[in-house]
Symmetry: C2
Subunit: 329 residues, 2 copies
């Protein structure tokens, strides 16, 4: 109960508004799944990912420990990954076929089942913030394109120049994908670095959020699972909270996030439910990726059917875990 001690000593005022028996907080994050192997990784790059994952998970956990809501915890963790060029979300997002960064995000509140989602936005630094605004400040769940940015303007969001999102690494990835396309090669993307977070707050409320730049060289206004409530993101206090990363088309068809929550509601553990969907159903279908799951009791599972998944968690005991490769545990 380190969190509680910290809470008492630093935040008496907030405590007065908190329940007598504060639930134990927990949080998990992902930064993408794919063919991540030790062979393909430099020690420097691995270290950079580990440090950023730790920074993000600690930021989210701090918010929760100080009495913040699960939505606020999810947001804090995702903002750090969106701001980092390491991940395919916010700054460092992949480029679409037109050479643009096109961003999607969604959020869901497990206490109310309220949800917000945005797709195909270009000028909002932290897409998860806009998804939260859609949830809280509109009557709608999903807004897309210019309309979503008009809403952002009315809500007082700051706009960044689209060049803010650009990194040379992603630009080179686009050139490579285009060269392969010209050569008639299509290899299903071997790496998906969408980011996401799931959290449980002191009131025992769950939330899930996801943010992405989608697929390199995507065309035609393609939208993946990340902004789709039920597919890439779902949260319900009665079952669990899920954020996904992977080959979005499969995650949409199998309604992955809500599918997992339905299994938890029927009595499966988060590990069993996640395993059934990620390592059985999706493997049979040929859908690569993974999820992070937070149970109503703060239990955590992070199943993935890829060689690796950038992931981290702090459980209800306050124990930190950071993983990259499949065998990390």
């Amino acid at each position: 109960m380190k969190a509680k001690i910290f809470f008492w000593t630093t935040c008496i005022g907030l405590l007065l508004a908190s329940p007598a028996e504060a639930a134990e907080v927990a949080i998990a994050i992902h930064g993408g799944a794919g063919t991540i192997t030790r062979e393909a990784m430099t020690p420097e790059r691995e270290q950079a990912f580990r440090e950023k994952l730790e920074e993000a998970i600690r930021a989210g956990h701090r918010v929760l420990s100080e009495g913040g809501t699960s939505i606020e915890g999810v947001r804090a963790a995702i903002n750090i990954m969106e701001d980092s060029p390491l991940f395919n979300a916010g700054k460092g997002a992949v480029f679409n076929a037109a050479g643009q960064n096109e961003l999607d995000s969604s959020i869901m509140d497990g206490a109310t089942l309220n949800a917000g989602a945005v797709a195909a936005i270009h000028r909002i630094r932290n897409p998860i913030d806009l998804a939260i605004a859609v949830m809280n400040q509109s009557r709608h769940v999903m807004m897309i394109g210019d309309g979503a940015e008009l809403f952002a303007q009315e809500q007082g969001f700051e706009f960044v120049d689209p060049s803010y999102f650009r990194t040379e690494h992603r630009w080179e990835q686009l050139q490579q994908a285009k060269a392969e396309e010209t050569a008639g090669i299509f290899q299903p993307q071997s790496f998906f670095s969408t980011v996401g977070a799931v959290a449980r707050d002191q009131n025992g409320n769950l939330a899930a959020g996801t943010s992405t730049g989608g697929m390199t060289n995507k065309r035609f206004g393609r939208v993946g699972d990340s902004p789709i409530i039920g597919a890439g993101t779902y949260a319900n206090n009665d079952s669990c909270a899920v954020s996904a990363t992977g080959h979005g088309e499969f995650f949409i068809r199998y309604v992955v996030a809500s599918n997992i929550c339905t299994r938890v509601a029927a009595g499966a553990s988060v590990a069993e439910a996640g395993n059934a969907v990620i390592n059985d159903i999706l493997v049979k279908a040929g859908g690569d990726g993974g999820v992070i799951i937070m149970g109503g009791d703060g239990s955590i599972a992070m199943p993935h059917n890829t060689a690796g998944m950038y992931r981290a968690s702090i459980n209800t005991q306050g124990e930190l875990f950071i993983g990259i490769y499949g065998e990390d545990s």
Copy 2:
């Protein structure tokens, strides 16, 4: 087995490719749910709806009887409703706040779980056809806005002038909604006239499709449940096919279509599953609307929690049903 006799006498060639024991075909359609009461309806208008519903259901059924796939049956029925100014899909779609008709659609194949969806398109006469092209001719599930229309162009779709979709009735609805908005009145829309179809073909394969103009006076690139696989449309041969119409935000949060299929997969009848979600869960949440459901065995349910729902079906016995008001059965 009228269908079979028709089949034998008209279509020997196709029969050779069909299974020895052709499954009995069935189809159901909806044209929107809401506060449809006898008091508010003129006999002429009611007659017009009944005739168009009958035309659509018979067209879909004919395709199925002649050996067409469930996708083709769904498409035939939806095309007729999209082409009719009576329904909020294709011609006769509602106007958004910017005075545009902005169309969404989706399709799902219960045999393969392949799916296609488009949102925020403005120049394709039959949006369900574009959703089908996304499913069959691309690697993606969902395409939106200009990108979706670029794809349509590459696929050889004919474009219509956006004025094609305009009807005076819908234009007046927009003016009224804007006047109410200026006066500070917001009444959740009392009527949703999205169209949809679910079908079972001679191979026993299911499909579901949905097409809509969304909500009158919608802003900000709002996307409802109709193009969201899992929410407005879902199909799986192992359970059922569902198309929804209603207050889209609630249908997204409760992942209505897939939720119903999950219950059917767990052993509920289509009537029980539909009733649980539409008349219990959604009623408690305050979400108005209805669905049409086709079970793997051709059983049909059309639950709605609104005063009425435009609907029609032809069951495996070849029996035609057309309903408008809640008490119709």
